[in-house]
């Protein structure tokens, strides 16, 4: 087990019916860079982790609490602008939602366009996001950011 929290099994909560809507609203807010709307949909104590190398993407890694998450997103926005986010698949059960999205972002310093598929797992409680795990092909993303092939 990793030591960043065990999310447990899906539970049907009073807000179960809205979990998908909350995630879709967050994704729409992200698409439109409406960070105030996004923040309103994040729980103060959110447990957030995007898996990947912090040396290349300083905004990712494990973050706890809304303030820390949005400091990370702000840092990420200083480095990259997000030009596209297309949800390809969304699976919901109880208070859990998982999905795959195609994401396109532009590295501000170089103008390079980085495209990747992002997988995510979300848990919603009382209409707010309390848990997030994100994945992408981080090796490929690093190569795109550096603009060259890495020979391990």
């Amino acid at each position: 087990m990793t030591n960043d929290g065990n999310p447990g099994s899906p539970q049907v909560s009073p807000s179960a019916g809205s979990a998908r809507d909350v995630v879709l609203a967050i994704q729409e807010a992200f698409r439109t860079a409406d960070y105030a709307r996004m923040a309103a949909l994040y729980d103060d104590d959110i447990d957030w982790l995007f898996h990947g190398p912090v040396s290349i993407f300083p905004a990712i890694g494990h973050r706890r609490g809304k303030v820390a998450v949005f400091q990370g997103l702000e840092a990420l926005n200083r480095l990259f602008s997000f030009s596209n986010h297309v949800t390809k698949s969304l699976i919901a059960e109880g208070d859990w939602v998982a999905g795959i999205a195609d994401v396109t972002m532009v590295q501000r310093a170089s103008g390079r366009t980085i495209t990747c598929s992002v997988a995510s797992f979300h848990r919603v409680r009382d209409g707010r996001l309390i848990y997030y795990r994100g994945f992408n092909d981080s090796f490929d993303a690093v190569e795109q950011v550096l603009g060259r092939v890495i020979t391990p």
């Binding site: 898996h51 059960e93 797992f121 994945f135 090796f139």
Partner: protein, 139 residues
């Protein structure tokens, strides 16, 4: 497929895979399966896009030639209709070096007629490369 049938088939897939029962794995794959494991194929030759049962089985055989599954602990499974998303903590032993790669993996599955027709696997591939080569990647 309803949720209970999907859930049972997911269990069947993981069980057959864990036992390396390739006959059962093959029976659970749709002829036209669309399969992607994201990662660098120059380090992990079994990853990438595969289309069709035969190609997927070849990839799984290659994986088992290079790695053995040491542990698989499921953290979450989300099922809706004929789709499932599963996040797990896994350990794979690299046969050539004896190194164990530990990581969290995300699987997305879709079933048709009781068989797996779409599969996507995500993990922190940069971290996996470093674990596989036994040192940090020089950038």
């Amino acid at each position: 497929m309803n949720e209970s049938a999907t859930r049972a088939t997911v269990e069947d897939v993981y069980d057959a895979y864990g036992r390396r029962d390739m006959e059962r794995v093959a029976a659970l794959l749709h002829d036209d399966i669309d399969w992607v494991i994201y990662g660098p194929i120059e380090v992990f030759p079994f990853v990438g896009m595969r289309r069709g049962r035969k190609a997927v089985l070849e990839a799984i055989v290659t994986l088992f030639e290079l790695f053995s599954l040491e542990s698989h602990q499921r953290e979450i499974m989300i099922v809706e209709g004929d789709r499932a998303a599963i996040m797990s903590d896994v350990g794979f032993k690299q046969r050539a070096t004896g190194r164990t790669l530990r990581f969290r993996v995300a699987n997305f599955m879709r079933f048709q007629d009781g068989r797996l027709i779409e599969f996507r696997e995500f993990a922190d591939s940069f971290d996996l490369v470093e674990q596989a080569i036994g040192h940090a990647v020089e950038l």
